[in-house]
């Protein structure tokens, strides 16, 4: 059965939800699809169904999330929850799978709002159980009210470091150390650029002061060199890095008896839908990697296909909501549901807001961007592709064997062929190939393939009778 509508929106984070609401308010029939049960994406993720705070300790993101979900409930948007999109086809046939079987949606317009995922640049020990992404730690803390461990090391880059550390520490955990790749000087320059964002600065300052009060050691311009398992606990070796992420000669030190490590090096836009649809993309280091080419309203180079949010370049949740609203308005306008004047007047304040937010987000994006020296420093024996256990040395050997782009490398090594479909390693592998190919453009990006996420065959096949299957006529003898 195919369900037809005016607009399909994939991804119910701030971008997708705002887009769906804007288009529905303009009169379009909208179907919003997400693999989660609740809207909100990662930043505004709903807490676990059964979790309730005894006292009112909700943070700002939690409040925004509640409002977002309430607005969605009140709207005419049809929210299809818990569905895994596995294929996006021509004129935007969207195929989903779930335990209840397959479903198909179709609309002349589609907004891709799949969000981003976290990048972790490999180092020895990053595959040990108990080492997790910084975003993963955030999800544990916010949605499950759980500390990753009693004694935790928090490492990587960006504002999430202080936020996670403050949460762990405030929740009664012991933050053994915060390891920040950025230097104090880099932070100072970001602060200057954020000077007028008083709320953000106040929140950040609150985290940092809280950490200082609890005497949490913060190591700036430092990185994790390696993690080892010792007596059932983790031992973390750290050392200094330069501005490009390269190890600097200098004393390394050990942090012992650690339960868990949260480490993240920025975010990568999830561009699988726009790439699968064949839209033009460009490499944008500041915004996290390959991003679709968009106009100011979020139109891609494919007619009827729009994109919004961190899946189009890392700008943060506030920008995502604005971009989502613009894409929703554009879809409504292009569908004829808004006349040009109304479209222009509704878009104007959003466009201004988007431009304003862009300036601020650039400062933070700079902290989160991939540091080339960090990739160049990956040791030969370090696993880069977690799914297939492909090491840096295997990748270098394949490049020496003639692999000129990431897809040829994939054939030579199985790097990126595992169940994560190359998401965890793709950005780093692109950078490794670029060291030889000369540029990220020359290194290319994985060829996009369905399914967008692994799908159990049982979910795809449902119940069927062999005799009813449309088996084509036999091949010639």
């Amino acid at each position: 059965m195919v369900v037809e509508t005016d607009l399909v929106v994939v991804g119910a984070g701030p971008a997708g939800t705002s887009a769906a609401l804007a288009a529905a308010n303009a009169g379009l029939g909208v179907i919003l699809i997400d693999e989660a049960r609740e809207a909100g994406g990662q930043v505004y993720r709903a807490p676990a169904r059964t979790l309730k705070a005894s006292t009112k300790t909700r943070d700002r993101d939690a409040v925004v999330g509640v409002r977002l979900r309430a607005a969605l409930d009140r709207s005419s948007v049809r929210f299809e929850r818990g569905l895994r999109v596995w294929s996006i086809g021509e004129r935007f046939r969207t195929d989903t799978a779930g335990p209840e079987g397959v479903r198909t949606f179709k609309a002349p317009r589609l907004i891709a709002a799949g969000g981003a995922f976290e990048r972790t640049v490999p180092f020895p020990g990053w595959t040990l159980p108990g080492v997790m992404g910084l975003a993963a730690a955030t999800i544990l803390l916010k949605s499950e009210a759980m500390l990753p461990g009693r004694r935790v090391v928090i490492a990587g880059c960006g504002p999430l470091l202080a936020a996670v550390a403050a949460k762990v520490s405030g929740g009664g955990g012991d933050v053994a150390a915060v390891i920040d790749m950025a230097s104090r000087r880099q932070w100072a320059s970001v602060m200057l650029q954020l000077a007028t964002r008083f709320n953000l600065l106040r929140e950040g300052a609150g985290w940092v002061l809280g950490l200082a009060r609890r005497r949490v050691p913060i190591h700036f311009a430092s990185t994790i060199r390696r993690i080892d398992e010792a007596d059932g606990l983790l031992s973390v070796e750290i050392g200094p890095v330069d501005g490009k992420g390269r190890a600097r000669p200098g004393r390394s030190s050990l942090i012992n008896d650690v339960d868990a490590v949260a480490v993240g090096h920025g975010l990568v836009p999830g561009v699988e839908i726009t790439r699968l649809a064949g839209a033009a993309h460009t490499y944008d280091r500041l915004r996290g990697g390959w991003v679709p080419v968009l106009d100011a309203m979020g139109r891609t180079t494919i007619e009827g296909l729009y994109a919004a949010g961190d899946g189009c370049g890392i700008r943060g949740a506030l920008s995502a909501a604005t971009a989502g609203t613009l894409a929703g308005l554009a879809a409504a306008g292009d569908a004829g549901a808004l006349d040009p004047d109304t479209l222009a007047s509704k878009s104007e304040p959003q466009l201004k807001e988007a431009a304003r937010l862009d300036r601020f987000s650039a400062a933070v994006s700079d902290l989160l961007a991939l540091r080339p020296g960090q990739v160049a420093d990956i040791a030969p024996d370090t696993v880069v592709c977690r799914c297939e256990d492909v090491r840096r040395a295997d990748i270098d050997a394949a490049i020496a064997d003639g692999a000129a782009d990431v897809n040829q490398l994939k054939h030579f090594t199985r790097c990126g062929m595992g169940p994560c479909q190359g998401r965890m390693c793709g950005d780093v592998v692109g950078e490794l190939v670029a060291l030889h190919a000369g540029s990220r453009e020359a290194a290319g990006a994985w060829t996009p393939r369905p399914p967008l996420r692994p799908v159990p065959l049982a979910d795809l096949i449902g119940s069927y009778s062999y005799n009813d299957m449309p088996i084509p006529k036999p091949v010639p003898l």
Partner: protein
């Protein structure tokens, strides 16, 4: 480039790469022009099936020779393509399929393929993973599969060692002259005394450079692969109609194919899957091997396969143009390609080929009829 090569091969799939390899090893100076990278088209994305039970009867003798080559790839190619030699089963679930299978197996057996018809129970003895509803099966001990995505790596190394001038990421745009041949590319003209057209589905536009009209039907074959799973099967499994190929690689992934059609366009090079068709292909696979339903689909993709009017290869000299050859459209081509390319190489080297080629005169439209076609 001012060199005049002894041979220019246009198209670096398994056909072109094999011809280039054999001619270079025989002492020719060979240039191989490939728009993308070696064996990255159909040769790198096909199901790697090395079965006789989907091979056309006329091609069985060739496929038998080719199977032996694949089984010894490290010996003659010098590199591993991950070939697994195993039993092959072609299944019949219905009375109609049993009839079809029995007839076809007999014809293939006459042509030299050692296929026997066995009962469903016997088939389950050979392949414990089979579902219960198999009536009979064609069993062939000469079967197996290669790891198609390794073809490029293996051939690339062999070609480099043989001294072939590899012109990857080079687009051939036409043939400017024929005596000697001057192939017009985006990196300048390439000169050679002989020319082989081996461009897969693109042999039709390439032959048009020489004024020859040979219609090629474009098939868009879909394939799917699961993530690594615990062993669910040990044979290569197909069905009577030929519309399933199924095997589990030593590393655990299961590749599901059988020529279910996606969408695609030869001119733009774009192609993609048709979801309903993937689902039916997967249903067929799970019907054959029920434990597969537990696995997750990791990736589906498409590849372009060329088919001639009579679904037989187009391999031999180009009529009327001395020293021009074509090597393409070998149905179930991956299996037979190394051997058939070897035959063409023998012809190019002035030897008598061990077996007959597949001359293209029968497929060429004459100018008058060509006009009506276009």
């Amino acid at each position: 480039m001012t060199t005049t090569f002894d041979l220019i091969v246009v198209g670096g799939g398994i056909n072109g790469a094999s011809v280039a390899l054999f001619c270079a090893r025989a002492g020719m100076r060979v240039a191989l022009i490939e728009r993308d990278q070696i064996c990255r088209g159909a040769s790198g994305v096909n199901a790697g099936t090395l079965t006789l039970q989907m091979t056309r009867v006329a091609l069985i003798p060739y496929a038998l020779e080719a199977h032996a080559m694949w089984a010894n790839a490290p010996e003659w190619l010098g590199h591993d393509v991950g070939v697994v030699v195993c039993d092959g089963l072609s299944l019949a679930f219905t009375e109609g399929e049993e009839e079809l299978l029995t007839y076809r197996a007999a014809r293939r057996r006459e042509a030299g393929a050692p296929i026997e018809i066995i009962t469903g129970t016997e088939a389950q003895g050979i392949e414990p993973g089979l579902g219960a509803s198999v009536r009979v099966a064609g069993w062939c001990p000469i079967d197996g599969f290669a790891n198609a995505y390794l073809t490029g790596l293996a051939y690339r190394r062999a070609l480099v060692e043989a001294g072939v001038a590899l012109l990857e990421r080079t687009i051939a745009r036409g043939v400017d002259e024929t005596e000697p041949f001057v192939v017009n590319t985006d990196r300048g003209p390439i000169r050679g005394r002989r020319l082989v057209i081996a461009g897969g589905v693109w042999i039709e536009p390439m032959l048009a450079w020489l004024g020859v009209t040979l219609p090629i039907k474009v098939l868009i074959n879909q394939l799917s692969v699961t993530e690594r799973v615990a062993p669910v099967m040990r044979t290569q499994v197909g069905i009577a109609s030929g519309l399933l190929s199924l095997k589990q690689y030593p590393h655990g992934t299961v590749v599901i194919g059988g020529g279910w059609q996606g969408w695609g366009n030869r001119e733009t090079g774009r192609s993609g899957i048709v979801p309903d068709s993937i689902i039916d292909n997967v249903r067929l696979a799970c019907h054959a091997i029920p434990a597969l339903a537990e696995a997750r689909l990791a990736r589906s993709w498409t590849g372009f396969e060329a088919e001639t009017a009579d679904v037989l290869p187009a391999v031999g000299p180009v009529p009327g143009i001395p020293e021009a050859y074509v090597c393409g459209s070998i149905h179930s081509g991956y299996t037979s390609a190394p051997y058939i390319a070897k035959l063409l190489a023998q012809c190019i080297l002035g030897q008598e080929p061990e077996r007959l080629l597949f001359p293209i005169d029968r497929l060429i439209l004459q100018p008058a009829s060509a006009a009506t076609v276009s």
